[in-house]
């Protein structure tokens, strides 16, 4: 399976409060709250680190969860947020210039 690279869109508003992250799309005003695990993936979505590495290096280590389960949850999370343009997904590393609002 091809590697996934994820990056936060710039067309969002976001703030972490009390371990959770509020994210709102500036494009369609969809509002999400991310729990601690999702917030960890969100924070690590730098466009350069493969999703599988975020799962093993961050999620599994910080939340004591098995890799397979964590990967499935991460894939669902990425799919949901990418549908709203909140996360950008690519099979190649995403350089900063790709993180435009549109």
């Amino acid at each position: 399976m091809a590697e996934k690279y994820i990056a936060r869109s710039k067309a969002i508003a976001a703030r972490m409060i009390g371990g959770e992250t509020m994210v709102m799309s500036a494009l369609d005003s969809t509002f999400f709250t991310l729990n601690e695990v999702a917030s960890t993936i969100w924070q690590a979505a730098d466009g350069r680190t493969p999703l599988s590495e975020i799962v093993t290096g961050k999620v599994c280590q910080e939340f004591d969860v098995d890799r397979e389960r964590a990967q499935r949850a991460a894939d669902r999370f990425v799919e949901e947020l990418s549908q709203h343009g909140i996360l950008l997904v690519s099979d190649q590393p995403l350089i900063d210039s790709s993180l435009e609002s549109r």
Partner: protein, 388 residues
Amino acid sequence: MSLIAEMSQKALKLGLPISVHLDITYRCNERCVHCYLDHDDHGEMTTAEIIDVLAQLADAGVFFLSISGGEVLMRRDFFDIVERARQLLFNVKVKTNGVMIREKEAARLRQLGVEQIQISVYSHRPEVHDAITKLPGSLKKTLRAIRFLKSQGLKVSIANVLMAGNFSDQAGVIALAKELGVHYTLDPTITPKMDGDRSILALQIPGSELKQVFNNAELVGNVEEFCAPPPAPDEDVMDGYPCSAGHTACYISPYGDVFPCVQFPLPSGNVRRQKFLDIWHHSTQLKEVRSIRARDLPTCSTCAHVGTCTRCPGLAYMEGSMRGPSTADCEKSFQRTGIPSANMLKRARTDSAGPLIQIQLPMNSAQDGPFPVETGSPEALVGISAHA
């Protein structure tokens, strides 16, 4: 409960300021008859100062940022401020009259990812709108701006402040909003001037017209539900706090002054002299605002409307006490339900008992001129009766 409401609750528990209203100028190109501001520059924060405040607000956890004025575009650095705010990932709402927004400005706002633009429209008729703004041609320019903003796909909201002079145009503005494809919000509240001058309150719509607003299903949804008598308050209501002012929200003036809300001019600190979080956590004024619960309100805690009233502690403060009633909201509760507020009943009792202090002049001295002439003993000249 919506996700946003849940996060607001969480912010309340954590003592975080989730929402800030930042006025970047009081200067304006309009001179609206009901405006509570002066329009001079008494030493606005510089670009660097505002950018520093934005960074502090982001660190403090602020998510919702309203950038307002005055007219925000009177500042040449307006887009620099918005750009920095967006880089810091605030959810930005801009309040403007739109007069200076053309295609280029609309495109820039879109590019920056501003979430919403709120524009004041007072009437669908230029002669009425322009008479309120005192700027000839302003409605035409404002509507042009709305069309530019809409063509960029931005979310636009029309704010319609209702006054006696434009009340009859309300339906016209609603129709205009529909035609433009923008959200419509109505505000029947006139705020006293920040210097305490209450003369502009004379512009308020009378109660009977307020009742019409509350019975308009297009505005309130289910009228029967909206105008239903208030339920008996329970313990949760009595332990509740009046509004978000000072709890999860605050206001910062162009001069760096921090207040609980734009409508609550209780000076609580200044970001030019103190760090924002120091003010937020340690201001004695904000602490006092936060300490007040519904049960602490001498009159309102006894009122049938205590759990459903829109009582504004800022308006109450401007009337004399942040723990007192806000008579504009008493009127709203009354017109909505037909049930007088405790404050109205108290005032009616006082009024029917006669004036608290009465000074009577002998007929002859009143006829002689504006000042009483001593014709006998002081007791005979001036009678004072007082009610405890």
